[in-house]
């Protein structure tokens, strides 16, 4: 749980000195990073990190003094605790890279409505790309999304809105016996279902291949399938930004999408569907 301000300050003050010792020297960070995956000799570090022997030995001495590394038969290795702390730093660094690299996507959008557990794992979105519509191709995001979805077998979607073309897309997915799960605002769930082939919808609902729950206050769009993950945000003025989506095909991002979907699914309510 994210704590209150004072607790955060206290925790920060408790770790501040060590954190600064870690990050204040680029050289130390480089050495620690090299040693994260395997124990290395000084020569290995020299080659891998491209550092001079004098700066390596000087910093290695400091790291040994603090118990961060030990030397075993000529090779330096990280202590467990430092390994864990270093993973955390790398994770934080990855999160920042995700924010930085996709700054266009995050900037001036509503991020506070996204569940905090998902935000804590934002580093998993590394390797995504922003698909952005432009004046010469105003439907780029939608078309890209549509193309990916055609090949999907398991689809989970949270939509704050429904695009008219979704009926056909999802009907086709149902024909292909894809497993589909929806979390939709109550206001659109019923009309969405009614606009699809009723017989097929009934069959898939009965088979458990189509599941629908309603969700209040949907303030982003998420689709996660076996082959991709797509994420879209609201702007700070509270309108959905149809011109930008973040797309990823990495296992990590798909995993992020699945976990995010599951979090929201737990808030979802069963829906009475009048078919």
């Amino acid at each position: 749980m994210i704590k209150t301000k004072n607790n955060n300050f206290n925790s920060y003050e408790y770790i501040e000195n060590e954190l600064k010792f870690f990050i204040n020297s680029k050289i130390r960070m480089k050495i620690l990073n090299c040693l994260l995956y395997e124990p290395l000799t000084m020569k290995d570090i020299h080659i891998k990190a491209n550092l001079t022997y004098s700066s390596i030995s000087n910093n290695i001495h400091k790291l040994e003094e603090r118990g961060y590394i030990t030397q075993i038969s000529g090779k330096y290795q990280l202590s467990n605790l430092i390994k864990m702390k270093l993973w955390d730093i790398i994770d934080f660094n990855d999160s920042i890279n995700v924010l930085n690299e996709y700054s266009n996507f995050w900037r001036d959008h509503n991020t506070e409505s996204i569940n905090i557990e998902s935000l804590k794992k934002i580093s998993q979105l590394k390797g995504s790309k922003i698909i952005e519509s432009n004046p010469t191709d105003i439907y780029k995001t939608h078309n890209y999304f549509k193309k990916l979805l055609k090949r999907s077998k398991n689809v989970k979607s949270i939509f704050p809105f429904v695009h008219p073309e979704y009926y056909t897309i999802f009907e086709n997915l149902m024909k292909n016996k894809a497993n589909i799960e929806f979390l939709l605002p109550k206001s659109i769930a019923n009309s969405f279902i009614k606009s699809m082939n009723q017989n097929l919808t009934k069959i898939r609902l009965n088979e458990g291949k189509l599941k629908i729950k309603s969700l209040n206050n949907v303030e982003f769009a998420l689709t996660v399938a076996n082959n991709f993950m797509s994420f879209g945000l609201f702007k700070v003025d509270n309108s959905y930004d149809q011109n930008k989506i973040l797309i990823s095909k990495t296992k990590e991002a798909i995993d992020w999408g699945n976990k995010t979907f599951e979090i929201y699914k737990s808030f979802g309510k069963n829906l009475y569907l009048s078919l």
């Binding site: 704590k3 955060n8 920060y12 770790i15 990050i23 467990n80 864990m84 924010l99």
Partner: protein, 294 residues
């Protein structure tokens, strides 16, 4: 060699940047107490300068300097005399707090992790180790060397569903498991090749797999075998997770058990257990020589 704080004028969230791996940005944020505390202080609250002054106990000029730096990187915005985090700053603050909590948690659990072989916990699970905010430790003492073992047996005695990754051959543990099976507890067990051999050669095969009359196969035990040595003792059930590890020299550390009853810790354990299940293969009855392979 002491280096000065990094100045990164050209790193800015308003411009997309190519991936960089020199940690420049986090060094920029974390090397300054003011910048870090400003992000913490504005997390979930917009504030006026006067409130920030009270929070941070620093003069306005110092605070404004820090604010300027964060504004330059689009992490903070000002509206109507109130400072607040930007949409990007908010996510950054969430992850900053996560980092702080995890380091704090590691610092508080130092005795458990020190000198233990953590190679059995894959990096994606190690990264989540901060979920252990307030675990209990069952530690043996001079008066009671087998306290962890006794406490463990007591703990599992109350559970109806157990998932156990068992890296040691111990009659006490196996007897407790058999006892649980006899009492209809559902058990999922992961073992390695060595334990499998020991189970087979020490008369535990039938005890584990057949019911108390040795007539029928039990329905409440599922077992998986991993190829590599299993180097962690993990137990997950409805209401707790327990973990003990091996020393770096390869011997099992029977003197310390980490015990956590929080939902997050149980989820973590469950997911680690499932990770092992995925890399393991289920044992069939013919593996156990309880039926002939066709």
């Amino acid at each position: 060699m002491h280096e000065k704080n990094t100045s990164i004028e050209n790193l800015n969230f308003t411009e997309p940047l190519i991936y960089f791996n020199e940690f420049s940005y986090i060094r920029h944020i974390l090397s300054s107490t003011m910048r870090t505390k400003l992000l913490l202080s504005l997390y979930n609250n917009k504030k006026k300068l006067a409130t920030l002054r009270d929070d941070l106990k620093k003069p306005s000029a110092t605070i404004l300097h820090g604010i300027k730096e964060l504004e330059k990187n689009s992490l903070i915005k000002k509206f109507d005399k109130y400072y607040s985090l930007s949409s990007t700053g908010y996510i950054l603050a969430v992850n900053l707090i996560k980092l702080i909590e995890k380091w704090y948690s590691i610092g508080h659990n130092i005795d458990f992790w020190k000198n233990q072989d953590i190679s059995a916990i894959p990096s994606q699970y190690l990264k989540e180790i901060g979920i252990f905010q307030n675990p209990e430790y069952i530690i043996s003492d001079e008066n009671d060397l087998i306290k962890p073992l006794n406490e463990y047996i007591k703990l599992i005695s109350k559970s109806n569903k157990l998932k156990i990754a068992l890296p040691i051959f111990s009659k006490v543990h196996l007897d407790a498991i058999v006892h649980k099976l006899d009492n209809n507890c559902d058990i999922e067990l992961i073992i390695d090749e060595n334990i499998f051999e020991s189970i087979n050669s020490n008369g535990y095969r039938k005890k584990l797999f057949k019911n108390s009359n040795y007539n029928e196969k039990r329905n409440n035990l599922k077992i998986w075998k991993v190829k590599e040595n299993l180097n962690l003792f993990l137990t997950v059930c409805e209401d707790f997770l327990s973990l003990s590890l091996f020393f770096e020299d390869g011997s099992y550390n029977d003197s310390k058990i980490l015990l956590d009853k929080s939902e997050k810790a149980i989820d973590w354990g469950l997911s680690l257990f499932n990770h092992y299940k995925e890399i393991a293969s289920p044992l069939m009855l013919f593996d156990l020589k309880l039926i002939k392979k066709e």
